[in-house]
Symmetry: C2
Subunit: 895 residues, 2 copies
């Protein structure tokens, strides 16, 4: 019985979360359990238990309801509870006065700065330990090698295992997921405490291993986790922390904090997080990001000062380029070359990264083996990379002994390496020493470093540990810039400037430009420029950096999606591709060209059988409700789950019991004429009429407006799982009927008969079937059903560009196409995605391979042909409306 | 007759542009005239004349139509035209290939850089001329004074007069207008060539006068003008330049270019323009701004290098602060003080500026006098300011002889003034000399400078010339920062740092912080921080600047709207206030609390009389179309103008003529039975049925889908004025009937009877009235009417916060509130604005004075009371649905 119920629920949620993968079963299950307990009168015990995080939100909703409806809760509860409620209210008042957004943001910034600092500190200790081990064993090369290799393998394996066990969601960067969440998709278990712990510890170990991994992406995720947990914590006191819009705003701010406290770059952090996570950015949210990120960066740097690492607050990777003449105008072509080359390099990196993932996924035998021994892959990759960087081995030719941070510091050094030559003194803190090899030119070292690091980073970021790719890419970019800079310095030993004083070329400036350009190309952002200024503390190279970043973006965006979009596709998260650089042909495609014309709908006067059939035949998340099949006037949309519960209610055992009772009463009536069946009659009547019930978004008062002519009353826009009306039977107690069983594809097993009253369930299976058939012919009573009364509507003529805008603005996943009230089609994210990715050529309609989705088609077609073809295409495709499962499969195939 | 027609049109447009003030009569009139000419067959002459800018867009629309519908235009035209069309098509192909966005952006950047440089150059010459005049007359103080005063008075007066005559729209900053335009409101004549010329020349003269005025705001406007004109120019070749969404995107980029090339600050420019003009920013538009602004800033600085002003590209106001230890941690409180004080100062500045405007507006006598002699006010203000800054007079105590630029350079100087004392040598290029007075302390000079400049700037920005307030405020902020810095330097002569080396305090750093904080407070932006980094070329003070800017914003935003929002209110542009810092109470207000319940609607089966009555009684821009008064199912919305034209068509003279003809025919029928009245019959039948006609957004092909059961066919979302179907009689040729006359409130004067056919208008006035009464009783035929089939719908439970988001996201000005298809209310920008500005207190509902609209109410109410009160309030107000005229009046009163 219970198994049956949970099956049903599982199916339901799989379809609720349109694109699968992440179900939120656990949380919801806990809430339902809580609801059941509460129903059975265990209110007091709940009031204690509800302080746990999972049930918190539910309890808040309930408390709010009680308070408004005349404190029945308080009146029922003893004095102790009353006092606690008073305390809570006082606290709430305090918080609502003081607890403005900025308190939250300061707390968030503070926590994140501490986390960032502690993580950095632990990483530094880990790296130092490795160095110490390696240094201590300098008598024996083999022992040295063992130490050098074992240490990272152990750390990475631990990190992978720990993450795998505690919270597999913590794997990877987190930015793609945050982008999806900020689009409005619920990936709830991404923001749990478990994930937080797994991410922080996993990240520390992963970075402590010395692998070429970054902390930026994970920090965005960690900050979001912090915000979500803090929000939950704060909602213990105040009410405003429950609002969904507010949570989204706070998550957006948290992303900024993540980047900001990672690099001590508040401005760059805000901009980067906007570029990476948002499609449309609410400017009113701007100050939140700045405020929190600044505070966080400030605390992060102050901790360093207090720790006596620094004398005062300065940049993380401070440079000391000359200010008067940072670069010559004639050097600009070299900067532009860096930009363009970085663009190609960035695209290659994204491609390589995806290629590795897909290669490992496709090789069935490898995959099978690796799936069994999940920790083998991380260990192998780590072994390979650390072997190659072993300083006495190949590592000597690629500055292998330097950590990522040390490499970056040396690369941004403001002195020239090449000019002094190899033989010359070269004594900058000893670290630059690593770049100098007795036999090999510094150029060779740099080239080797770039090439080796490039594929190593692409490989390392596929390890299933919490890690980002920003920092490795940043370092590679800096090395590339340095290479160009050193070449320029070798070519023009006295600088380019012709008249007057000599200004030698500064290769460090080139390194800055290269770092910004390559990381910009990989992430498709312009704000890396701002990040480098904040990281280096110098803005003198603003124009070269901007030019290089923009060129790199132009090249990279025309070749490949960004790294994060690439991961989104690999992970099959619900997404909407950007319109890209040259999207003017998108203005000419219209909704009517891409919409699905064969819309499935339910009518207001349909019977339960129609409902049953429609639920059997299709698997859409929501269904359109129209007035009648003739008028096709769109009234709203209903979620599938709602319809299922309607149906299960109609065929529920309790209703059958009632029928039996009624039948018994009728039989009795033959004996005594006086009997009260008013209530049943009333019930019957109600189910015949079309009547809508008030259901509220939050548990506020019910409006007391007089009923108007037609008994249609307000329903909510966004149904909340929390506020299920109590008479709605969705808990596993209500057993579905036989006909319903067929809907949920499970065989009709014998029901556990519970005697719950005066009558006995003495109906035979045939009688039950007959009864159900009769029930199915009744007209649907939508009164207990939540209807979204204003689903988003478009017009046929809306352009693809505008549709894209609206979808990304409002985070829709489908919209109905109407024509003067009449429903004529539906557009979902899927159609839109296809329309954006599949370009229209003159020859015909062609869906481009996903890898080339950002490439522009060589020819543009005349509108007429294109649209006609589109229509044909659509008609062909809409013959069988593909369900969501089909989508994900076809997606899988195309990748 | 013609006067009558234009009256009608004027009324129509006054109601179309909901908030009045700026009517687009001229442009539309020109187009209508062109349409009339074209109708009468003068195609060739048009094809030459249409190359003028005003008619260009119209002609493009027509050309596009011709091209698609089988080249009837080309076939009719001679060979020469054919060749020119071919050339145009070739050009179009070239442009559509090459003419991606980036070409446009490069052109825009280039043009703006040149404009900026030329304007700067001219301003420099003007200022130098003044200095030269003043210096040359050093023998006679009176002559010196005359020269010092006359020069700016003449320039400002010229600027004001020139702008007044050529294009009054060029007055002021332009940022408020751009904000409005980017919200989707059409202020077309803001983007004409005339305005461009007026703005550039007016600005040059105004700034050349040496008044405390800025060029930033005007440059945003100029860049937008450039973009609009360039767009028009480019649309000569390509088709994509006609798209509305694209134009908005380009305007947003242009705003970034404006700031970017003004300060050579690409990043700050982009961010500032986003903060100042957008509510929701499309991240896909981000690269456009960066690209264009970077290119523009680059060219702008390269011009300086080519002109031998600079050796290489560096910042505009380069500073030379030390990098190693820019500031001590213990100095942070001082920076915070600067931030908070700047916040108050910024709010005061906005308040003062508005106060001056309102004072001058309210003083009827002054106002009347000034209205007559429009140039007197500028002249008087200039006289006052220049008198006070006269260097040998009061100006000697406030560095009056320095220009704005020179002041800023000296204020940002990295040496300390106070430490050396007044007596010490003080010889920095001679300009810092101006701050030193033999008798007076440098602190006194600074304080005087700040105080005097403060009110002078607030006053000067009210002069009706093209001018901005950013730069004056920036300088005042720098002076304030310098003051604090010098005080700190005097207080801690050896710096604060306790251990080790001595790091003296850098007052220049304080000046940077002050400048960013004050300008941030006045404009409510955080990105001024980025602008100062780019302006000074140093980012070392990032944390102090960020902290001060955020604090300043926090204070200023809680006291006053931003300067631009303040101007928007003064100018009564349609706007939607921001939600501000602490807006959590907005989550609890719902649409049902603020909506107007008494919605006026028209039903699908109404007769013309209902239409007439409804148009007589209310003055809304759009009306809801519902299925019937019983069902209230919302089908769409119709513009008032459409209904008016429906009505005028029904009562038109041509229909009456037809009636007369018909009557005559019927009379004839008595004589001969054979007559063909089929067509009339068909017409009659058609007008009885409810039938919708296909009308297309752009003049594309008509879809050939088979007609479905109900003969409802697609109509367009946004009606375009250009594409009026030819059978729709809105040109002044169609004379309105008598009943219609009463609608347009003009007395029914005798119509100029034109004999247009075989019959004579022999009906008496009584007959006409009778005929019209009959006509009014007919059912409305909506076939020629453009219906917006998907007006935006909200649900009662939508929160104010969400409503605000949706309104600003989609640029709506009204939305219908529906409940499962049923129309139950309407919310317009007005209600929303009131709800945001008027706070809800426990005592009752109170609309706060506009000046305090951003202040938070001290107490928050319980939701129940508030909502009930809100309802009462709404019911009270909705008794008479106030028209738009009423709105603007009440706005006027409340200010």
């Amino acid at each position: 019985m219970a198994g049956d119920g949970s099956d049903q629920r599982a199916l339901q949620y799989e379809q609720t979360l349109m694109y699968g993968r992440y179900t939120q079963e656990l949380g919801v299950y806990a809430k339902e359990e809580a609801a059941r307990l509460r129903e059975s009168g265990q209110r007091r015990s709940i009031s204690e238990r509800s302080r746990t995080l999972d049930l918190l939100e539910y309890d808040k909703g309930r408390c709010a309801k009680c308070r408004r409806s005349g404190y029945p809760y308080v009146l029922e509860a003893p004095a102790q509870d009353f006092i606690s409620v008073c305390t809570v209210r006082c606290q709430k008042f305090l918080i609502s006065r003081v607890g403005e957004d900025w308190i939250f943001l300061i707390l968030l910034g503070l926590v994140m700065a501490l986390v960032s600092w502690v993580v950095d500190f632990c990483i530094a200790i880990c790296l130092q330990a490795q160095k110490w081990m390696y240094g201590g064993l300098d008598s024996n090369v083999f022992l040295q090698y063992l130490a050098w290799v074992t240490y990272p393998v152990v750390l990475i394996t631990f990190s992978a295992g720990f993450t795998q066990i505690l919270a597999p969601q913590a794997v990877g960067s987190g930015i793609p997921e945050m982008k999806t969440i900020l689009r409005g998709v619920v990936l709830k278990e991404y923001l749990t405490f478990k994930t937080f712990v797994a991410k922080v510890i996993g990240l520390t170990c992963a970075l402590g291993s010395g692998m070429p991994l970054g902390k930026e992406g994970p920090f965005v995720h960690i900050a979001s986790l912090c915000a979500a947990l803090l929000s939950k914590f704060m909602s213990l006191f105040g009410g405003i922390y429950e609002n969904e819009s507010r949570n989204i705003e706070m998550l957006a701010a948290a992303c900024a904090v993540g980047v900001g406290c990672c690099f001590a770059a508040p401005i760059g952090g805000v901009l980067f997080s906007i570029e990476v996570t948002s499609t449309f950015f609410a400017v009113r949210n701007y100050w939140r990001g700045f405020f929190a990120a600044t505070f966080s960066a400030f605390i992060f740097r102050v901790l360093a000062v207090w720790n006596r690492d620094e004398e005062t607050i300065t940049a993380l990777f401070k440079t000391r380029f000359r200010l008067d003449f940072p670069f010559d105008l004639q050097e600009l072509p070299a900067f532009a070359v860096i930009g363009i080359a970085s663009g190609f390099g960035g695209a290659l990196f994204v491609y390589l990264n995806r290629l590795i993932v897909q290669f490992i996924r496709k090789q069935k035998t490898i995959n099978k083996f690796l799936m069994k021994k999940r920790l083998l892959y991380p260990a192998l990759v780590t072994l390979l990379i650390s072997t190659l960087t072993f300083p006495p081995g190949f590592g000597q030719f690629m500055a292998g002994k330097l950590t990522q941070k040390e490499s970056l510091v040396t690369l941004l050094d403001n002195r020239t390496w090449a000019k002094q030559g190899i033989a010359e003194e070269f004594d900058y803190i000893g670290n630059s020493q690593a770049w100098k090899h007795p036999q090999v030119n510094v150029f060779v070292t740099l080239v080797l470093f770039i090439v080796m690091r490039f594929w190593m980073s692409a490989l390392a970021t596929t390890i299933p540990v919490p890690c980002g790719a920003f920092m490795p890419v940043f370092v590679i970019g800096a090395a590339f810039g340095r290479l160009v800079g050193e070449s320029m310095a070798a070519w023009f030993p006295d600088g380019i400037h012709s008249d007057g004083s000599i200004y030698p070329i500064v290769p460090g400036g080139y390194a800055v430009v290269g770092a910004a350009a390559l990381s910009g190309a990989v992430t498709h952002t312009v704000s890396t420029a701002v990040i480098v200024f904040e990281l280096t503390g110098q803005i003198s190279h603003i124009l070269p950096v901007m030019i290089a970043v923009i060129l790199a973006n132009a090249v990279a965006q025309s070749l490949q999606p960004s790294l994060y979009d690439s991961i989104i596709r690999i992970k099959k998260l619900p997404y909407l591709p950007e319109l890209g650089w040259g999207h003017h042909e998108k203005y000419n495609i219209r909704v009517e060209d891409i919409m699905v014309r064969d819309v499935r709908y339910i009518t207001l006067n349909c019977c339960y059988r129609d409902l049953h059939n429609i639920l059997m035949s299709i698997h859409l998340k929501t269904l359109a409700l129209v007035e009648s099949a003739e008028s096709m006037i769109l009234l709203g949309s209903i979620e599938r789950a709602q319809l299922q519960s309607l149906l299960s209610q109609q065929l529920s055992r309790s209703r059958r019991m009632e029928y039996i009772r009624e039948r018994a009463a009728t039989e009795k009536k033959h004996l005594s004429v006086v009997s009260n069946n008013d209530s049943d009659d009333g019930r019957q009547r109600a189910s015949q009429e079309v009547r809508f019930q008030i259901s509220t978004e939050e548990s506020t008062f019910s409006p007391t407006r007089p009923a108007s002519q037609k008994p249609l009353k307000p329903a909510l826009k966004r149904s909340s799982v929390v506020e299920r009306p109590t008479e709605l039977p969705t808990s596993p107690h209500d057993h579905s009927g036989i006909a319903l069983k067929s809907l949920f594809c499970s065989s009709p097993d014998a029901e556990a008969l519970e005697d719950d009253g005066d009558v006995e369930d003495d109906m035979t299976l045939r009688e039950i079937t007959e009864w159900e058939e009769r029930q199915l012919d009744e007209q649907v009573n939508f009164s207990t059903c939540k209807i979204d009364p204003a689903p988003f509507q478009l017009v046929e003529r809306t352009s693809l560009h505008k549709t894209h805008t609206i979808f990304s603005l409002l985070g829709l996943d489908h919209a109905y196409v109407t024509s003067i009230g009449r429903l004529i089609g539906v557009v979902s994210l899927k159609e839109l995605r296809k329309a954006i990715e599949g370009s229209v050529t003159v020859k015909g309609v062609k869906v481009r391979p996903p890898l080339a989705s950002f490439r522009d088609s060589g020819t543009s077609s005349s509108e007429n042909e294109a649209t006609e073809l589109h229509k044909l295409w659509d008609r062909h495709r809409s013959v069988s409306l593909p369900g969501d499962q089909v989508t994900s499969e076809s997606d899988e195939k195309s990748q």
